[in-house]
Symmetry: C2
Subunit: 318 residues, 2 copies
């Protein structure tokens, strides 16, 4: 398949000259894919287009409100399919997999990603897909209203860990300023997304402080969380959102791996690393991928064996 | 004393027409007072003025680097004294108290503050003093270099809890964008200021999760931390920086009070509240003050008695 890599202006032209858009988000959807699809959908509707977000039943309570009034249950013949923040076909929810080869345009910011669509707008410098969507909407001369601004703010802030990760740039702050200017309830969103942890989440963090394994003179951290502990502490999926960023916040830790049981005999690995360390070097050993700062993989191993394998990989790669 | 409330332009004119500046920060100095004094000092020097920050021995390791090369040990006859982020004379370090009535200009952003200088530039809307200093430096046509940008970024980010508190505005993000543009190492600063917690700090948070008292149906939280626990966990002053923001992050908590023993029989109270709740309503009962979202007081009571008094005040005011 010939891959055509578009500029923002070219992608805007594609959107202007098409209609009946159905936007696809990724599996285990985060704030960026949900916020970005919502913002793009709202922007296209403002231009008079018919646009929907394809209903993704993996969207959690934390982000579901963003898609309210925007979804449809299934793609239809003649829809222009656009994926947003989807790094590869395997990142689509299972239910969307049959649509992978029908997607016309891929909008993404993942550097380590797969070209699988005829057209793509990919900017690996963009800290979030949401910033890229904001640029695109500006190119389309969409008027940024509060709903669009809120959606972009959610994407931008979550993908930068509220402006703390190494991907945060001057452009990130500039977009956040414009979102605030356009009426995004920044404080309320921050509270909801970052500043509020349930007691269950805090107890989970307390458990991790007590059980994490520090290796490599304190530069590496490994946390393997049994499902039984999650159940005992009563954490929800939203509570566990971004839990893998927690061990890396321990002073001195350069790379941290978190393992969780997915309930089907597999262990989900998440690795976070500071600049100078490469999380993908660890995840690629297990068939995964991601960014240097944040990467993941699925291990078809029970937790204890997965932990042993990951410990070995961590020490080798650090 | 006639108090003249200046605009930014008038304050800039005052600075242009004076020299031999000595800048004063506040007691228990935070990132804002240290960053703001540093930025103003560097800006004035860029304009060819003689300027120093008065050495404040309460500045912790976390922020001391900002004042490197900028301090002098004592104010001299003929110095133009300017206080930055000082809400009242009682907020000056003990060593600076004799200078209170010699300060020519007060630059501040605290709404609930005391006019105690002949001239003042006070903007209660500004989330941090640092943003105000940035505006002032722009008015003075100072070229924002990396050192100035870093100092302002530290002030802006710390006083907004890395853009999370309710004081965060579009202007806050716009200033952060300009700091990033001017070369501030935003990621490294964020890591240093926010993303890195020692194991000791994390263990303190874990202790607080286990010992905090929730009242008022979970809307109020009270944490009284004995010095013995701080010693046992080995936390430093930097580790305890902003510890009082932690209990308020529990989902559902609207107002949270934290008490620490200061080692001299007193208990230091910090109250944090979400919009709709007023932290000063609690602290004023004990002769303290601050902002609606964040306020403090010193109680001349041992910890247990202080906790009982604060619990009563919390429940009354909520």
């Amino acid at each position: 398949m010939m891959k055509k890599s578009l500029t923002r202006a070219e992608a805007a032209e594609f959107l202007r000259s098409h209609d009946n858009f159905t936007l696809l988000s990724h599996r285990r959807p985060d704030g960026d894919t949900v916020g970005s699809t919502a913002a793009l959908c709202l922007g296209l509707r403002q231009l008079g287009k018919t646009a929907h977000v394809l209903h993704n039943d993996e969207v959690t309570d934390r982000f579901a409100w963003l898609h309210e009034g925007l979804t449809k249950a299934a793609a239809e013949e003649g829809d222009t399919l656009v994926s947003v923040d989807v790094a590869s076909p395997s990142m689509l929810p299972k239910a969307f997999a049959p649509l992978a080869d029908k997607i016309a345009l891929r909008i993404d910011h993942h550097g380590s990603s797969t070209s699988f669509t005829p057209l793509e707008l990919v900017d690996p410098i963009s800290a979030s897909c949401a910033e890229l969507i904001w640029d695109l909407l500006e190119a389309l001369e969409v008027r940024p209203d509060r709903a669009i601004a809120q959606a972009v703010y959610v994407g931008t802030s979550t993908d930068t860990g509220c402006f703390r990760y190494s991907n945060t740039s001057a452009h990130t702050f500039a977009v956040a300023a414009k979102c605030a200017q356009a009426g995004a309830g920044v404080y309320e969103l921050n509270q909801e997304l970052f500043e509020t942890n349930t007691l269950a989440r805090l107890k989970m963090q307390a458990w991790m402080v007590d059980h994490m394994k520090l290796l490599g003179g304190g530069k590496l951290a490994l946390c393997a969380i049994p499902r039984a502990v999650e159940e005992e502490l009563g954490v929800t999926q939203d509570d566990m959102d971004n839990i893998s960023s927690f061990p890396r916040t321990v002073a001195g830790v350069c790379m941290a791996a978190t393992l969780r049981e997915n309930g089907e005999g597999d262990s989900k690995l998440s690795v976070r690393a500071i600049p100078g360390y490469d999380a993908t070097a660890v995840t690629e050993k297990f068939g995964g991928g991601g960014h240097k700062g944040a990467a993941g993989a699925f291990l078809h191993l029970p937790l204890a064996e997965a932990a042993a394998a990951v410990e070995k990989a961590l020490v080798e790669e650090a």
